[in-house]
């Protein structure tokens, strides 16, 4: 408004000023013209007066100037420049110039003065002087300025009034609109609306503005919803969760009246209803759609959606396909099916419906498409994540297993080497003891008793060494198999370990209650009962150790299915943490400090492996531990031949070549076999053995049998066997080895060898073998 007033005021001022200036100039010009005209008239009239020197007449002529009040004085000079006549009469002649000035008119102060030549033809008769007072001009200017001022003031007032009125009509609505816009932008409140106004154009503007706000608000609320959904999706880890969250948000906030996500497997001819929105459940039930319901795909909207297009049916009543018809029966009219796309593969669809026809705008459709994209992406990521997690778990499991196996393998190798040495060392003891007991009838009772003890001790050592050597092995083909009555074994162990779980704790005032829950009529297992007993003993010991403050120890057997027998040892002790649980089977891993060997559970594990059984460990710190041994019933492929000692009748004497790098073993074996009447040639090394065999063959007295050690420096038992076999295809070759089981396991019996015999060799066994081979 100030601008309007200033503008109109400036225009008025300029107009008036230029008008005044123009008028002023025009007035001056016309004043000069008037005066000069007057001068000319007077001059012309004065010619005669001057020509005939009539001053009176001249004065009379000048008197005519009375009619021009602005002419304040006038004078007529003659040709000599003398003042000839003056006007008005009696005016002081001092008021006139002494001499006429230059011809022409000029302004002097508030006067206009002029000198007009008085001519008669070509002759100059004199000069007329005129002096005009311009007071009139200034009076006129003042008047004019006054009028201009009044006009300006009036115009100003008018402009003010008009602009006020205009402002009320135009500026105020626009200002109000601007204020609304500012309020929206500052407060971020898009629900604000501009007030409606009068006037066609302004109403269009306001309506357009409000429409824009509505659209912005709608877009923002969708954006907000999309963000909420995206955030919620990010928190859901599995597809079902994600779908539930998406549907819940859509139902609550968009809102839709029916929402459901169906899944599609490639090459299937149907969809499977996956997740139905919580609020859509009743409608879904009325339509017969529940989770896992199959929805057939035919040439309808669904198939279009399967090609990745969003499908919108404004009115499902007019769509003659099963799914829309189903929705129509439940009272829905408009339907949107949005594809869930991953890498251009549609793996599912988002189905949204509303009860009103045409209830989805293009913005709604676009929004649903975006939601679908997000949901699909999140689902895909969740799937990828779980696959990754699985792969990682598998990898970790494999790594653990590999690590454990490698550890066991290393231990096994070490154990194998130790076993070899021990077996070598105790072989002579075993051989001589057996030999003495057999062949010396005159031994005193005491001596015999000592020798029997030595023999049993040697056997125990051998067995222990064998077990230690083999606990890593997956299968023990030479296991001593028998029938195991599991309940009986449990009862025996309860009795055998009573001291540990009852007597010792009681001395310290601790009560351990032992329960046995043994299922009746369990089938017998095939296996080594002693190993099972050993394992069970270890488990009971561990359970007791885990309950330093007492508790309940439960031994339980039951049938698992029809083919598996389960043996459970359960305690209510301290339990194991994750780390302990993972490592408890490792050899030498112990939580018992100095008291433990770290071999107990390793032994158990070895037994489990040898029996093709399974071991399950349930444990949690503070909640006790359950060790579960699961045996599978199977028909043993090797019958329990067992070691039935066969008393071999005395054999015909044989020529036997003994090859071993250990002189003591060689000597003891020689002694015992010679005791049986055989003829023995001893070779203290591989090469020596080959040479001896070749020499005997050459001398025409070949050996009937060869007994060779496996592990020898330079030329080992395999080479000896090969050379011997090359020289004589039929001679029996028996191999002695401290690594017997491993050898058998690794590459079976070496070529050319007829039989393998473990160290320490038993005389009885050797006899049987020799008898068989030479028979």
């Amino acid at each position: 408004m100030t601008m309007i007033l200033l503008t109109s005021g400036a225009v008025l001022l300029l107009t008036s000023a230029s008008f005044v200036a123009h008028e002023f100039l025009t007035f001056r010009y016309s004043t000069v013209r008037n005066l000069s005209t007057l001068g000319q008239v007077i001059a012309t009239n004065s010619t005669a007066a001057l020509a005939f020197d009539n001053a009176k007449d001249a004065a009379e002529i000048l008197t005519a100037l009375k009619a021009e009040p602005h002419v304040v004085s006038a004078g007529l000079y003659d040709s000599a420049g003398r003042l000839f006549a003056i006007y008005p009469q009696g005016f002081k002649s001092g008021g006139f110039p002494q001499r006429p000035g230059a011809d022409g008119y000029r302004f002097e102060g508030r006067f206009l003065v002029g000198f007009q030549p008085v001519l008669m033809g070509q002759r100059r008769l004199g000069t007329l002087f005129l002096k005009s007072d311009l007071g009139a001009l200034f009076d006129w200017l003042r008047l004019f300025s006054g009028i201009a001022a009044v006009v300006i003031a009036a115009s100003f007032l008018l402009a003010y009034l008009i602009s006020r009125s205009l402002q009320r009509q135009i500026s105020e609505p626009i200002l109000a609109l601007a204020q609304t816009a500012a309020a929206v932008s500052h407060g971020r409140d898009y629900s604000v609306r501009a007030a409606p106004v009068q006037g066609h154009e302004l109403r269009l503007l306001t309506d357009g503005f409000n429409h824009m706000l509505e659209r912005t608000q709608a877009q923002l609320s969708r954006l907000d919803l999309l963000q909420k959904i995206t955030r919620a999706i990010g928190e859901g880890q599995d597809p079902a969760n994600i779908f539930r969250v998406v549907l819940q948000r859509l139902e609550d906030d968009m809102p839709i009246e029916f929402g459901c996500i169906c899944l599609h497997e490639a090459r299937d001819d149907h969809l499977t209803a996956g997740t139905v929105g919580a609020r859509s459940m009743p409608a879904a039930a009325s339509m017969g759609i529940a989770e896992q319901t199959r929805i057939p795909i035919d040439d309808n909207g669904i198939s279009m959606c399967l090609r990745g297009q969003l499908v919108y049916e404004p009115d499902v009543r007019e769509v003659p396909f099963p799914l829309p018809q189903r929705l129509a029966t439940a009272g829905f009219r408009s339907l949107v099916i949005a594809p869930l796309l991953i890498e251009s593969n549609v793996f599912g669809m988002l189905i949204a419906a509303r009860r009103a026809a045409g209830a989805f705008t293009s913005g709604d459709c676009e929004f649903l498409r975006q939601v679908s994209e997000h949901a699909a992406l999140a689902t895909h990521q969740a799937q990828l994540y779980s696959a990754l997690q699985r792969a990682y778990d598998d990898l970790r499991q494999s790594q653990q297993t590999a690590l454990q196996q490698e550890r066991l393998r290393a231990l096994g190798e070490m154990a194998s080497g130790i076993a070899h040495d021990i077996n070598n060392a105790i072989s002579p003891v075993a051989l001589y003891t057996e030999s003495l007991l057999e062949r010396e009838p005159n031994l005193s009772e005491r001596t015999r008793s000592y020798l029997v003890t030595i023999q049993r001790a040697i056997e125990d050592v051998a067995e222990t060494v064998a077990r230690m050597r083999e606990f890593y092995r997956p299968r023990e083909p030479e296991i001593v198999l028998g029938r195991i009555h599991i309940n009986r074994a449990v009862q025996q162990i309860i009795e055998l370990t009573r001291a540990r779980w009852s007597d010792v704790p009681q001395q310290r005032g601790i009560m351990i209650e032992l329960r046995n829950e043994l299922a009746d009529d369990l089938p017998e297992l095939i296996g080594a009962e002693s190993e099972v007993r050993d394992a069970l003993t270890n488990l009971v010991f561990n359970a007791v150790d885990a309950m330093p403050n007492g508790g309940v120890l439960t031994l339980r057997t039951f049938l698992l299915g029809s083919q598996r027998v389960c043996l459970e040892v359960n305690d209510t002790g301290i339990g194991m943490d994750e780390e302990t649980r993972r490592r408890c089977l490792e050899p030498f891993y112990t939580t018992k400090g100095e008291r433990g060997t770290g071999l107990g559970l390793a032994m158990v594990y070895g037994m489990i492996q040898r029996h093709s059984a399974e071991l399950e460990i349930d444990s949690e710190p503070g909640k006790g531990t359950t060790m579960r041994l699961i045996f599978t019933l199977s028909v043993p492929d090797t019958a329990a031949s067992g070691l039935v000692p066969v008393l071999v009748p005395p054999q015909s004497p044989l020529r036997i070549l003994l090859v071993d790098d250990d002189p003591i073993l060689l000597q003891s074996l020689r002694d015992t076999l010679e005791g049986d009447g055989h003829s023995i040639t001893a070779a203290s090394g591989g090469q020596a053995g080959i040479d001896a065999f070749a020499a005997a063959l050459a001398s025409g007295a070949p050996f009937d049998a060869v007994v060779t050690d496996l592990g020898m420096p330079y030329v080992d038992g395999r080479k000896v066997a090969a050379m011997v076999r090359a020289a004589s295809p039929t001679v029996p070759i028996v191999m002695l080895t401290g690594w017997g089981q491993r050898l058998v396991a690794d590459d079976e019996v070496p070529p050319h060898v007829d039989r393998v015999l473990n160290k320490p060799p038993r005389l009885a066994e050797l006899r049987v073998i020799l008898a068989e081979l030479t028979a």
Binding site: T47, A48, A49, A51, N54
Partner: protein
């Protein structure tokens, strides 16, 4: 047309000096001209500016403007001095002097000297029908039919004009000339 011959209109004052000057002028006219006749010479020339002559009063378009003096010439060389270098409506000006009215052929302004005072009636009759502006300083000249008479008044020279006579001669006298003059009509 009435001849100015009857009434005496106004009085004539002849200043003693003027008279004496005129007397001396008469005695020695060729040498000295009195200031009075110098003024009258100028006036004679000035009349040409306020009077219009009919074209037939000139012999042809290139004919000079003739100022004539009839009778004894009182001007001496003053008349020549007054018209020197001047022209009237593009016509050169010549001064002619006549002893008798019969000598007049073409003349526009004719000054009738005092010497002819006795013959004014004849002169008037002789000039009738000619567009000649007659000027004189003879007393009662205007009343006797002379168109303009110089009158000495308060040491100034005034004009007394017989407009009827001029009109009768076909001359038109500018009103400007009439303003400073005193108008008379022919007497008798």
């Amino acid at each position: 047309m009435r001849q100015s011959s009857n009434t005496f209109c106004g009085f004539v004052l002849v200043i003693a000096t003027l008279i004496s000057l005129a007397a001396s002028g008469l005695a020695n006219s060729a040498v000295e001209t009195s200031p009075e006749y110098q003024v009258k010479a100028v006036f004679l020339f000035n009349f040409a500016q306020f009077v219009e002559w009919p074209p037939q009063s000139f012999e042809d378009a290139a004919a000079p403007f003739v100022i004539g003096v009839l009778g004894t010439d009182p001007f001496g060389s003053a008349l020549e001095g007054a018209v020197r270098g001047e022209s009237i409506n593009g016509r050169s000006i010549i001064i002619e002097r006549y002893r008798s009215v019969t000598e007049i052929r073409h003349c526009q302004i004719l000054f009738i000297s005092r010497s002819e005072a006795a013959h004014t009636g004849e002169i008037g009759a002789a000039l009738a029908g000619h567009s000649i502006l007659t000027v004189s300083d003879i007393d009662d000249a205007a009343q006797r039919g002379v168109m303009i008479r110089f009158v000495a008044e308060n040491n100034r020279i005034r004009l007394r004009i017989n407009a009827d006579a001029a009109k009768a001669a076909g001359l038109s006298i500018s009103s400007k000339l009439l303003r400073p003059a005193e108008l008379v009509t022919s007497a008798g």
